[in-house]
């Protein structure tokens, strides 16, 4: 579904993303792991066309991501993108209009999703009055409002309480059941292990390990032993780079 080849992005002399390639199959959940500044968000921004890659190609169903195709992608930015002075409804209508949605569709789907998260009372509340967890829920709703086929979630669980994390996880799994493709990034191994089928570990812009999660966990060797969890592998792999 999504195919990325030799993607490079450099800012001046800094290379933020260094020649990464990966493929995301339809209906799977793909995880990107890495420390802060590893290049996860930059990769996402390039997929979404917010910034231009220095070189490399990004193909969605063998087509470049432009115009109508970009409307098939949903995006949850890492640092939030809600306008504080808008109410939840206004915000969703605005973002819906950006995706050429009809006002009625926006309202219908918004109410469905608010109901899903049990926060229907926030419909006419201003964004700035919401708590961090609730903001993240609205952010999530915004990213799936237009019924996209590919959903990109940048650090969706960071800074949330366990209950909110659980609710969001359920929502992600629900989307998977509907047949959506999901890419998300995290620096928390347990979220990746729980949800993802394929993973990629990024460090300083380079992909240092990628593939099916199960295969990696089964085959990766540390001191001649196999069968480690992702956390151990990550520490071993990323740690070893600094020696």
């Amino acid at each position: 579904m999504l195919e990325i080849k030799n993607l490079v992005k450099s800012f001046g002399e800094n290379t933020a993303v260094d020649n990464i390639s990966f493929k995301v199959e339809k209906g799977e959940i793909y995880g990107l792991i890495g420390r802060n500044g590893a290049g996860k968000s930059t990769t996402f921004r390039m997929i979404l066309g917010i910034i231009e890659p220095t070189s490399g190609t990004i193909l969605y169903d063998n087509k470049k991501i432009k115009g109508e195709i970009s409307d098939k992608i949903g995006y949850l930015p890492e640092e939030g993108s809600l306008i504080p002075s808008y109410t939840v409804l206004e915000l969703c209508e605005y973002y819906g209009s950006l995706k050429l949605m009809k006002s009625e569709d926006v309202r219908k789907r918004l109410i469905e999703w608010l109901d899903e998260f049990n926060v229907i009372e926030y419909l006419n509340k201003k964004v700035k009055d919401l708590s961090k967890g609730n903001k993240q829920k609205i952010q999530f709703i915004v990213s799936v409002l237009h019924n996209p086929d590919l959903i990109i979630l940048d650090e969706p669980f960071s800074g949330l309480d366990p209950i909110s994390v659980d609710e969001l996880k359920k929502a992600v799994l629900k989307l998977k059941k509907e047949g959506k493709t999901i890419i998300f990034s995290s620096h928390r191994m347990e979220h990746i292990e729980e949800l993802c089928e394929s993973v990629m570990i990024l460090d300083k812009g380079k992909a240092i390990l990628q593939g099916k999660l199960k295969e990696i966990e089964e085959n990766y060797e540390i001191d001649g032993k196999k069968g480690h969890n992702l956390n151990e592998i990550f520490i071993n792999k990323v740690g070893s780079l600094y020696e």
Binding site: I51, I73, Y75, V142
Partner: protein, 730 residues
């Protein structure tokens, strides 16, 4: 470009703006204000208040008349006015305790040469209308009195008083209806300005909000920056247009209500409409055309600028910048375009430039000075520039709003090259230099203020009791010396208090070495004096700096001579050195010797506030500075300074005694030659001069970062130019 998306965004934004509570409240208020202001008279009628007229209450006017003619005028004026009670008295019977509020006493008297003297006496103020009425009557009485005095008829006198009537005819300029056109012009500029204020501030605000909330990150996944920018500008512009249409409707409602009360208003509007000719219609159309482009241009630039801001306050500050440009352009157009000003080719070319054309071409049009070619060219330029400006601004906007500027990254790379210590040192230095600049600037300001205040008071002191005991010149010089001491010592102390102990110049050299330095220094001073004579001759600054009242010559008393010598040689010698060498050079030394040397020398020059002394002072300041840096002994430069000024003072004192002048000259030359020999000896001994290289460019840049310092420099430069001019005129 995805037109549908642009349309959707515009639709959403406009709807939101118009349905916004703030918008509705503003409009209700506006509606009321417009309706009320159109119907002010009607409301007055409803409330049953009559026109506020003169003397609407019972008034008593008491006239005290010495002329014998005032009575008739007052009778004529007020006989039908029941509100006013006229009374004629022989004298004023009132004081502030027994006068009533509604009494006006008008007193006419004649002076020795039969001219009218008038007094209006009331308890408190009277209103303008009353005053003008009384003034009118008084003017008539004055004319009558004058006519009697001169023995001519009053009507002739009135002709003399009239301003000549002139009928102005300009064949080449369309000056018809000029009042109405002027009104239209002003009114339209106000509208242009209002529109720009609203549009620009709205754009700045929204973009700053979107940047801060990072919603732009999401928005740019759906539309590209150009579509977004276009949509933003369009939606705000449309909102403003809607606002204007609403305002027009309010006006129409107000007018309709007015017509209900007042049938004559209809014919009034009709006659107004008839007077609008084709030139005004085309003016409005052309102006609207320019306005659309200008709004677009400025909004784009505004968007690009405000995308770089990080807070809403900053964003609204950026609107001020663009609005200021607009105001400046408007005022230029006011000054440069008018029916009585000839339009030059340069003006035609200037008026074709985008944005400038919005203010120039319509105002030229309305007085018939614009050409069709000019209008066409300016529009073509606008159309050509639009996509260019749009693309540039969209690019800048994207860079700014996503903060992915390569510039930031570059500076990061630079930082990596520098060590932490270097960064720290740089920062400390910057702060230090800025403080130095502030202290320096402030001290010089103090110096200036003391010097100026002192200068203002001199004449009063000279004429005071002291002048009985000693001569005026002596007092002048005593006073001058005191002022010099105060004005130099206070800033010097201030600067020294800021100087770190390790940099203070407090050393003492032994006598022999000191003499050597003085002699070598003196040699240079003489050389510089010759050089200066040459320069002064070239630039024509050959004038006497001292005023006549200060110059003491052979005729004056011994006390005068001594005080003159002290005032010219000793006092400046000591106190100028304290401020410039000890304080400023000492403080500046922290940032490098060259820096300190140049700063103190240039300031030494600036303090003299004329070219003749200034140039000399800069050069001599360098010599003094070098000696001070080498020895650190203030006594040496003080002696040199006294020596230098002393010779000048002596040659003034003995200007008529040729033998004395000759002796002074000989001594000077001998001293200079000894100094020269010593210096050559020093050069041979040390095999030339050793000059250390230092970089100090950066410090100079930092110096000018301080406002106080800049202010002082500007002050001194301006005063130097002014006083140079005055001295040359003498």
């Amino acid at each position: 470009m995805n037109k549908r998306k642009i349309f959707e965004i515009v639709k959403f934004n406009v709807e939101k703006n118009v349905q916004n509570k703030g918008f509705v409240i503003l409009n209700i208020i506006m509606c009321l204000i417009i309706i009320v202001s159109v119907n002010l008279k009607n409301i007055g009628n409803i409330l049953d208040s009559h026109d506020i007229s003169l003397f609407e209450e019972d008034y008593r006017i008491e006239v005290i008349d010495e002329t014998g003619i005032a009575y008739d005028f007052f009778e004529n004026e007020f006989k039908d006015n029941e509100m006013v009670e006229l009374k004629f008295e022989a004298q004023n019977n009132y004081t502030k305790d027994n006068i009533d509020d509604n009494v006006i006493i008008v007193e006419y008297k004649l002076d020795d040469s039969n001219n009218l003297i008038t007094k209006f006496i009331t308890k408190e103020g009277m209103n303008d209308d009353q005053y003008n009425k009384l003034l009118d009557i008084t003017t008539k009485i004055r004319n009558q009195v004058l006519a009697l005095n001169l023995g001519i008829e009053v009507s002739k006198l009135e002709i003399i008083n009239q301003t000549p009537e002139i009928e102005r005819v300009m064949l080449g300029v369309d000056a018809e209806n000029s009042d109405f056109k002027d009104m239209i012009k002003t009114f339209s500029v106000v509208i242009v300005y209002m529109v720009l204020i609203f549009v620009l501030s709205a754009i700045a605000n929204e973009i700053a909000t979107e940047k801060i909330s990072k919603s732009i990150e999401y928005v740019l996944t759906s539309v590209d920056e150009k579509e977004y920018l276009l949509a933003k500008v369009l939606s705000i512009t449309i909102t403003i247009i809607i606002q204007l249409v609403y305002s027009l409707i309010y006006y129409m409602i107000g007018n309709a209500i007015n017509n209900l009360f007042n049938i004559s208003a209809i014919s009034n509007v009709e006659s107004n409409l008839q007077s609008i000719d084709m030139s005004i219609v085309s003016y409005i159309l052309v102006l609207a055309g320019y306005l659309i482009f200008t709004v677009f241009f400025l909004s784009m630039i505004q968007a690009a600028i405000s995308s770089k801001t990080t807070s809403i306050t900053e964003a609204s500050n950026t609107t001020m910048l663009l609005l200021m440009i607009v105001v400046v352009l408007y005022f230029i157009s006011l000054g440069a375009i008018g029916p009585y000003i000839k339009v030059t080719t340069f003006m035609y070319i200037l008026s074709c430039i985008p944005i400038v054309s919005t203010f120039f071409v319509p105002s030229m049009m309305i007085i018939g000075q614009a050409t069709t070619l000019q209008i066409i060219i300016s529009f073509i330029l606008l159309i050509i520039c639009t996509p260019i400006v749009f693309n540039i601004c969209a690019k800048k906007f994207k860079y700014g709003i996503l903060d992915y500027t390569t510039k930031n990254k570059k500076s990061k790379n630079k930082k990596e090259e520098k060590s932490v210590k270097e960064i720290q040192e740089n920062l400390m230095k910057k702060n230090d230099v800025k403080r130095f600049a502030f202290v320096l600037g402030f001290s010089l300001l103090l110096w200036f203020i003391f010097e100026q205040i002192g200068g203002l008071v001199i004449p009063y002191l000279v004429n005071s009791i002291f002048s009985v005991i000693i001569s005026e010149k002596s007092i002048t010089w005593i006073y001058y010396s005191i002022i010099s001491i105060i004005s130099f010592i206070i800033p010097a102390k201030l600067i020294i208090s800021y100087t770190d102990k390790e940099y203070r110049l407090n050393k003492k050299v032994d006598f022999k070495r000191g003499i050597k330095y003085i002699l070598v220094g003196f040699c240079f001073i003489i050389l510089i004096q010759y050089l200066e004579m040459f320069i002064v001759d070239k630039i024509g600054s050959d004038y006497q700096v001292l005023t006549e009242s200060m110059i003491v010559s052979a005729k004056d008393s011994l006390l005068d001579k001594i005080l003159f010598f002290i005032g010219i040689a000793v006092i400046p010698g000591i106190f100028e050195e304290l401020l410039l060498r000890k304080a400023i050079l000492g403080y500046g030394k922290k940032f490098g010797n060259y820096f300190a040397l140049l700063t103190s020398a240039i300031i030494f020059g600036l303090l003299h506030m004329n070219f003749q002394q200034g140039i000399f002072a800069v050069l001599i300041g360098i010599v003094f500075g070098i000696i001070m840096l080498k020895t650190g002994d203030i006594r040496l430069t003080i002696s040199l300074h006294i020596l230098n000024n002393g010779f000048v003072a002596l040659s003034t004192l003995f200007s008529e005694n040729e033998i004395a002048l000759f002796i002074i000259e000989i001594i000077t030359i001998i001293l200079a030659v000894i100094g020269g020999i010593l210096f050559i000896g020093y050069l041979i001994k040390n095999k030339g001069l050793k000059i250390e290289k230092e970089k100090f460019k950066q410090e100079y840049k930092m110096l000018f970062l301080n406002y106080t310092f800049d202010l002082v420099i500007v002050l001194f430069v301006v005063l130097t130019i002014v006083s140079e001019n005055m001295l040359r005129l003498q």
